[in-house]
């Protein structure tokens, strides 16, 4: 089993988000970076599959050298080697293109990634990669078993779950509980020292520029109105919220 796991390097879930340079850049001061939580599950499942079936795991990240600590952590958790495409991941299509370029040359059986990143949350890279490679893509996958060349999966759908089977190779967007979340052990941390990170230059053109970041307006207070006081609700909607 030859597995590629694509990971994002994203601000910690508790990071305070602020912008600089006239609101065109994320203010990175004081922010800790982590592997995208969904990507973490993808990697964890890859490690379990490797334990079960043998094979290799390559981690891929589109990002600058500040991604290296997070990449090394993935190596510590159980990936065998890593590829970093040395460019700022500006938009989903550009990122998907970079991944597809690598994947075309390597014939992976499985390309796993999180269902979405947690910075831009666009959640479409798996679909784009699948199209660029001409292979199926499925997301969000919550359960994954491999039997021979067939993947048996459960994915979340509107209002329920769906069981699907598909032949490899596949691109999958993953989410919990696809695997048991993994902590890097001491042995893994020590062996990550010697595992290679190959740095490749990007192909294609960056076509997206950021004009402005804005934060969502702070959540307003919520008012509870008892059912028997419908009149006061109408009054509030008319005079305070001014929506009717």
């Amino acid at each position: 089993m030859k597995i590629l796991v694509c990971i994002t390097n994203v601000p910690d879930t508790t990071a305070k988000i602020a912008f600089t340079d006239g609101d065109t850049q994320l203010n990175k001061a004081g922010i800790t970076y982590i592997t995208g939580p969904y990507d973490d599950y993808a990697l964890s499942r890859a490690v379990e599959l490797k334990e079960q079936l043998g094979g290799t795991i390559t981690v891929l990240n589109v990002g600058l050298s500040d991604s290296d600590p997070v990449i090394r952590k993935c190596l510590a958790i159980g990936a065998d080697d890593a590829i970093r495409i040395n460019v700022e991941p500006t938009d989903s299509f550009f990122v998907a293109e970079q991944i597809a370029q690598v994947a075309k040359q390597e014939n992976y059986d499985l390309i796993l990634m999180g269902r979405e990143s947690i910075d831009f949350n666009s959640g479409i890279v798996h679909g784009l990669v699948g199209e660029l490679l001409g292979i199926p893509s499925i997301s969000p996958v919550m359960k994954l078993e491999i039997e021979g060349t067939v993947a048996k999966m459960t994915r979340e759908i509107e209002g329920g779950k769906e069981d699907i089977e598909a032949h490899l190779p596949l691109v999958l967007g993953c989410q919990e509980p696809i695997a048991e979340w993994k902590i890097a052990g001491m042995r893994g941390i020590m062996s990550a020292r010697t595992k290679p990170i190959k740095v490749l230059e990007p192909t294609g053109q960056v076509t997206t520029t950021t004009e402005l970041y804005t934060l969502p307006a702070p959540k307003g207070a919520v008012k509870m109105i008892a059912a028997e006081e419908a009149e006061s609700l109408i009054d509030l909607l008319r005079n305070e919220a001014k929506v009717i």
């Binding site: 508790t14 305070k16 090394r72 952590k73 052990g185 001491m186 042995r187 941390i189």
Partner: protein, 599 residues
């Protein structure tokens, strides 16, 4: 490298008489990516395995949950960080093992179980075992397959550890020692597979240590102790009734046990100091969060100055303790490298290095445990009524903190030890204290220097304050030693005062040096909060030094000597006024904004 030379030439206790350059100390901001990854592994382990089960751990009917947690920690390699690779561990240096202790330090009972297992349980074999003993036992302990405990204390032998009554007698065939006796307060006793047991052979005056396997037989126990805190940590009375221990399981030499106990405790002390830093950070974060969420009088209580004061103090003291802890840890690593280079084997080198810094280890133990007690106390206060509720985390934090001032040598014993060791080294000529004390004696008789030459540089004035604090210690210690001579050690109240001065001076100096070094790397603007923390700490340290010094002087000096020394003390504990309220508000505001501990 020139730097290494000056690094390793720093001797334990020497901080009292030597100015140390900031470039020669290690600061926690210098931990490598790999070390941080190891720490993160520990934090992840606590978050996923331990913190969701704190109640379950504390109120467990048996030890199976704790054992399974230690097993899991073992699978991750967390029980073998300090054990060399040849014995199945990971051979990390001393400072990394302190960082690991810090990272699991917020694990309450689990943290105690883990540190007893990997510390006092494992290290006696690592440092004093024969090759056979090490190869036989260390891989089992490093992997977690076996768990260890340490049996020193007895019902009638606590602080006076060498007074134990447990006996070991050679069997008739000369193949076994037969151990009989009773041990008390044995952490991990309920599930340990291996016991390091201290006993006296025949009528020896001093202890001998033995590696005792549970399977040797003749070991029984009382039920679990019912305790104020760390309720989930197994603590047992252990009885040895004709326990047959093969002679090859004697550890080190006959009557060498007390030395083992002392040296292993040195390590245990500084490890405890780093563990309580981890706990302090966690409690501070929880308290800041609560203060942000709790609203009274129409606003978050974190907006009140009285609460900000607490949040800032929690930060300043934790930051200060951390600064000194890893400074000392690195000194130990550097001394180890030095001794290795001189041809010593690795276990010996580590031991000697730790022994060399026994004073700092004792200082750190006292300071760290008292900082945590302050932090949890204010943590409860910030939570108000909820601080008193078992539904909120402060209740457990408060109860679990208290043990740290008692085990690994009580804080009284460690205060005695810190001053006692300095005096002993001075008497032996290992520490050149007397000339320094005499110079200070001369200085107080001379016309004071009014500090005309204003020196430029980062924290120069503050470092001068620390230098003066050292002079205050030298002045008082010098005079008291002259007066009491050999009876000095009977003056415990005075020694407690001197210990307080010593602790405050070491911690304040370490904090300033850390900030100075950090400013050198990041620039002053990026370190303003660290500077605030250092200043808040320094002012408190000077005040404590002045109070303790005054108490000390009044306890033995009279007449002219009394007056001259009090004047000298006043001069040596002078510090320029600073608006500490504003400094504290800046610290607290940053924590409030972040929603947790900021450093």
């Amino acid at each position: 490298m020139a730097l290494t030379e000056s690094n390793t030439s720093i001797k334990g206790g020497e901080f009292l008489i030597k100015d140390i350059d900031a470039s020669h100390i290690f600061i926690p901001e210098e931990f490598s990516e790999e070390q941080q990854m190891i720490a993160q592994t520990c934090l992840d382990f606590l978050r996923t395995e331990v913190h969701p089960r704190l109640d379950e751990i504390d109120y467990a009917k048996d030890n199976s949950l704790m054992v399974s947690l230690l097993d899991k920690a073992g699978e991750l390699g967390l029980l073998g960080t300090a054990v060399p690779e040849e014995y199945g561990g990971f051979g990390m240096d001393f400072n990394t093992s302190l960082l690991v202790a810090e990272a699991v330090g917020a694990g309450h009972s689990f943290s105690v179980a883990l540190s007893a297992d990997t510390g006092i349980g494992t290290l006696p074999i690592l440092y004093y075992g024969t090759e056979e003993q090490k190869h036989k036992y260390l891989p089992l302990l490093a992997s977690g397959e076996w768990k260890a405990s340490y049996c020193l204390t007895e019902p009638d032998s606590g602080s006076d550890a060498n007074s134990g009554k447990t006996k070991a007698v050679l069997s008739e065939d000369g193949q076994h020692y037969i151990i009989n006796g009773q041990k008390m307060w044995i952490t991990n006793g309920g599930f340990a597979d291996l016991f390091i047991v201290f006993a006296k052979i025949d009528n020896d005056k001093s202890l001998t240590a033995f590696i005792v396997e549970k399977s040797f037989g003749g070991i029984t126990m009382n039920a679990e102790e019912r305790k104020m805190g760390i309720k989930g940590s197994s603590t047992r009375q252990v009885f040895f009734n004709d326990c047959k221990v093969p002679i090859e399981n004697m550890l080190y030499t006959r009557e060498g046990g007390f030395k083992i106990a002392v040296n292993i405790l040195n390590i245990g002390r500084i490890k405890l100091a780093s563990a309580v830093i981890g706990a302090s950070k966690q409690v501070t974060s929880q308290a800041v969060n609560y203060a942000n969420e709790r609203k009274q009088f129409g606003t978050s209580i974190s907006n009140f100055g009285a609460i900000k004061h607490k949040i800032a103090e929690m930060h300043a003291r934790t930051f200060a303790s951390e600064s000194a802890c890893y400074r000392a840890g690195q000194n130990i690593d550097d001394a180890t490298v030095d001794l290795l280079a001189s041809g010593m084997d690795s276990a010996q080198a580590k031991l000697k290095a730790v022994e060399q810094f026994a004073i700092e280890c004792a200082i750190m133990k006292v300071h760290g445990s008292e900082v945590l007690d302050y932090v949890v106390d204010e943590g409860v206060q910030i939570y108000g009524g909820m601080g008193f509720s078992a539904e909120a985390p402060m209740d457990r934090a408060y109860r679990d903190s208290r043990i740290n001032r008692i085990f690994e040598g009580t804080n009284e014993i460690n205060r005695l030890l810190s001053v006692g060791t300095i005096v002993k080294r001075a008497m032996k000529g290992e520490l050149n204290l007397m000339p320094a004390a005499m110079a200070v004696g001369k200085e107080i008789m001379a016309i004071p220097d009014f500090g005309v030459e204003e020196e430029e540089g980062i924290l120069v004035k503050e470092k001068k304050v620390v230098k003066n604090m050292k002079k205050a210690i030298l002045m008082i210690a010098g005079a008291a030693l002259q007066k009491y001579m050999a009876a000095f050690e009977k003056e415990q109240e005075l020694i407690m005062n001197l210990a307080d001065m010593l602790i405050e001076t070491y911690i304040a100096e370490s904090t300033l040096l850390r900030v100075e070094k950090l400013i050198g790397v990041r620039g002053e603007a990026a370190c303003s909060l660290q500077q605030d923390a250092a200043m808040v700490y320094l002012h408190a340290a000077v005040n404590k030094t002045a109070n303790a010094g005054r108490e000390a002087i009044m306890s033995f000096a009279e007449g002219d000597e009394l007056r001259v020394m009090l004047m000298g003390l006043k001069r040596f504990t002078k510090i320029e006024p600073l608006n500490l309220k504003e400094a504290r508000r800046r610290l607290a505001d940053a924590a409030i904004e972040k929603g947790g501990y900021i450093f």
